[in-house]
């Protein structure tokens, strides 16, 4: 078999124009198998504009999805399109894409400025254009002051921002960020989240993956939940949570007198169960989490209870996945 070096398409990208009728990202019944393992199974999505969170536990298929979008893998079946073009066959759409990979891909021996300039030139920018653009994006991610220092001297958060800067240097329409917050300290997380939200507000299509629901919810309300290679839910995150109201939610209270607190809470109609988990801990079950959370503070204050902590132990991705998949 002849190697597919010319990508069966127009390697000459000068003439490429995106399909105006097509979504920025489109997957139509896409499956990807690694041997006997189904990494993605019949996934269909169309995304254009705004920030979309791709959520899933490890092994859900997030990275496979991004590799398919970035043309690093070929779909076993189905169609993958960026701007209406198959990225496996034609690398031209990447002129409008910025990709922030999950793993470290930085050149520690280079300065952030040199690194961004080098990869800017691979978009076809001239040397002068690349320098101007590199300065602009490094300023955008708040690294302008230190951009002439070697990347090897940067903290984890700064390195993540260099990765984001190098992906933005071509002013892309589509930005794909694979686990951009992994390993960052709280300050770096906040900075990166603000950058992502800003990109979404500016009308870019941003795909950001994570396995932590709270992180994504701080960035966007639009989420796609993947589980074992399938899309199990998509849409507004609050709406997804609403759908879960048919399932009991749990609220864990830490207090000095759980029995007294339980007596007060029993007055709330929406509470369906109370459990004394251990000394000083009370577990409340309800199907209407919002209503209970609304009434709980007043009841605590009115009855003078000393509550040291309120937690929603099942308000995480794993719990949502458990609900959505029926425990499978």
């Amino acid at each position: 078999m002849m190697p597919d070096l010319d990508q069966h398409g127009h390697a000459e990208t000068k003439e490429w124009t995106p399909d105006v009728k097509a979504p920025v990202v489109m997957l139509d019944r896409v499956s990807k198998q690694y041997g006997r393992i189904n990494a993605l199974n019949g996934v269909s999505l169309g995304i254009s504009g705004g920030v979309t969170g791709i959520l899933g536990m490890n092994g859900a298929g997030k990275s496979t999805l991004f590799k398919l979008l970035m043309g690093k893998l070929r779909a076993s079946s189905g169609a993958v399109r960026l701007f209406g073009t198959d990225p496996w066959r034609n690398s031209a759409p990447y002129s409008r894409v910025g990709f922030v990979p999950e793993h470290e891909k930085l050149h520690d021996w280079m300065t952030a400025f040199d690194f961004v300039v080098t990869f800017a030139r691979l978009y076809g920018l001239t040397r002068d254009e690349a320098k101007v653009e590199a300065t602009r994006v490094l300023d955008f991610v708040d690294l302008k002051d230190v951009m002439h220092k070697k990347i090897g001297q940067y903290s984890k958060g700064m390195r993540q921002r260099v990765k984001i800067a190098h992906a933005l240097v071509n002013d892309p329409d589509l930005i794909i960020l694979d686990e951009p917050l992994q390993g960052c300290d709280p300050l770096a997380r906040t900075t990166i989240m603000n950058v992502i939200k800003e990109l979404g507000r500016m009308g870019r299509t941003v795909l950001v993956s994570s396995h932590i629901l709270h992180e994504i919810e701080r960035i966007t309300e639009q989420i796609v939940i993947l589980h074992r290679g399938r899309v199990v839910a998509l849409g507004n995150s609050h709406a997804i949570r609403e759908m879960l109201d048919q399932h009991p939610h749990k609220i864990l209270l830490e207090c000095n007198k759980p029995k007294d607190v339980a007596k007060s809470i029993m007055d709330i109609d929406e509470v369906t169960g109370l459990h004394f988990v251990s000394d000083g801990k009370l577990l409340i079950e309800t199907r209407h989490l919002g209503v209970v959370h609304q009434q709980l503070p007043d009841i605590i204050v009115q009855n003078g209870h000393q509550v040291t902590g309120i937690d929603n132990p099942d308000d995480d991705l794993q719990s949502i996945l458990r609900y959505l998949t029926g425990g499978f």
Partner: protein, 349 residues
């Protein structure tokens, strides 16, 4: 979502001035009305549990990009200069200090015949000049002499260069970054190939040209001498290209199947030296020179002996067999390289 099939795409705002910077005002509106809009809570929240296996494809409006992409050669030139200039300058691909020093040493060592030819002209020794001056055998020897050039110099330089060329990109994830740009697989493979071949070519054919033209200048050769010897120089020049090409193709093929620099480097030297040694042993034991066709160096050398018109050192073996061998060896190496790049195995970390 569109309201009717006739008007699936609503007019959208212009993208002019829609670049981001710290001064950019936040517009708050997406130019693309998304499958799920980018509005923050203004729209009614909707969600769906994906009950159908194929999910849902949304319609939306967006402003297509109508910018211009600079020519393909500009992107390819960026890859090429990143690799080649790294030999001389910082801020490009970092070649190790040992690699740079060894290249410097090989360039100096390759110029020894120039120095000795000049010495011969200075002292007026015809014996010394016959040994080192420009002639058919010495031009061939400058490129394809086995000791020391093709045992110590060129294969080792090639091994140092190809060692990490693709394999380290793969290990560091750099190749994945290349392919996140509008770089085709052919462009990637060909620019990597050209980078190595050009460095080898500059060392081998650069010093050859220096050797030839220094004689023209220093010895005051006239047009008649140049007309006599220039075809020989061109023949040797072609041999240098053939040698650079062959070492590069084998080395890069090895680099494309590895994750480190050690295996491709040692593998290249092992193939070049191992096949030659085996062919030499068979020739010594059984007086059969046929096995030289498995040796890339000997095949190129045999073809180049025919090109240069000097006596063959490969006995009864016809040079056309060696030519076929050179084509087959390069073909296999390039096929392996092309396959690894076309399947994007070179991006798997």
């Amino acid at each position: 979502m569109s309201e009717s099939p006739e008007t699936p795409f609503e007019p959208v705002e212009s993208k002019e001035n829609d670049t981001f910077s710290t001064e950019t005002p936040v517009t708050g509106k997406s130019k693309m009305t998304a499958a799920w809009s980018s509005d923050e809570g203004e729209s009614e929240g909707v969600a769906a549990v994906a009950s159908l296996p194929q999910g849902q494809v949304f319609e939306q409006n967006y402003q297509p990009w109508n910018g211009t992409l600079n020519p393909r050669w500009m992107r390819n030139w960026a890859i090429l200069r990143h690799h080649v200039l790294g030999i001389f300058r910082k801020g490009h691909r970092p070649w190790g200090i040992p690699t740079r020093l060894f290249i410097f040493f090989v360039i100096l060592a390759s110029c020894t015949d120039i120095a000795l030819a000049l010495l011969a002209s200075l002292v007026g020794s015809t014996e010394l000049y016959d040994m080192f001056g420009v002639n058919r055998n010495n031009l061939y020897g400058h490129v394809l002499g086995f000791w020391p050039r093709n045992i110590l110099y060129f294969p080792v330089v090639a091994a140092l260069l190809v060692g990490g060329m693709i394999s380290e990109d793969r290990a560091h994830g750099t190749s994945a970054l290349y392919f996140s740009r509008p770089i085709s697989r052919f462009d990637y493979a060909s620019m990597k190939f050209l980078s190595i071949a050009i460095i080898l070519f500059l060392i081998i054919d650069g010093t050859l040209a220096l050797y030839y033209f220094s004689e023209v200048l220093v010895m005051g050769r006239g047009w008649s001498w140049i007309i006599d010897t220039f075809p020989m120089f061109l023949g040797a020049f072609l041999c240098g290209i053939l040698l650079s090409f062959t070492y590069t193709s084998i080395g890069l093929a090895l680099s494309s199947i590895s994750r480190g620099r050690f295996f491709p480097a040692i593998g290249l030297i092992a193939i070049l030296m191992g096949t030659k040694t085996m062919a030499a042993i068979i020739n010594g034991l059984f007086d059969k020179s046929t096995l030289y066709v498995i040796s890339p160096y000997d095949s190129v050398a045999h073809v180049c002996q025919a090109i240069m018109g000097i006596d063959s050192s490969y006995g009864e073996l016809s040079w056309t067999w060696s030519l076929a061998s050179v084509i087959i060896i390069n073909g296999i190496a390039l096929y392996l390289l092309a396959t690894r790049v076309s399947t994007l195995e070179v991006t798997r970390e």
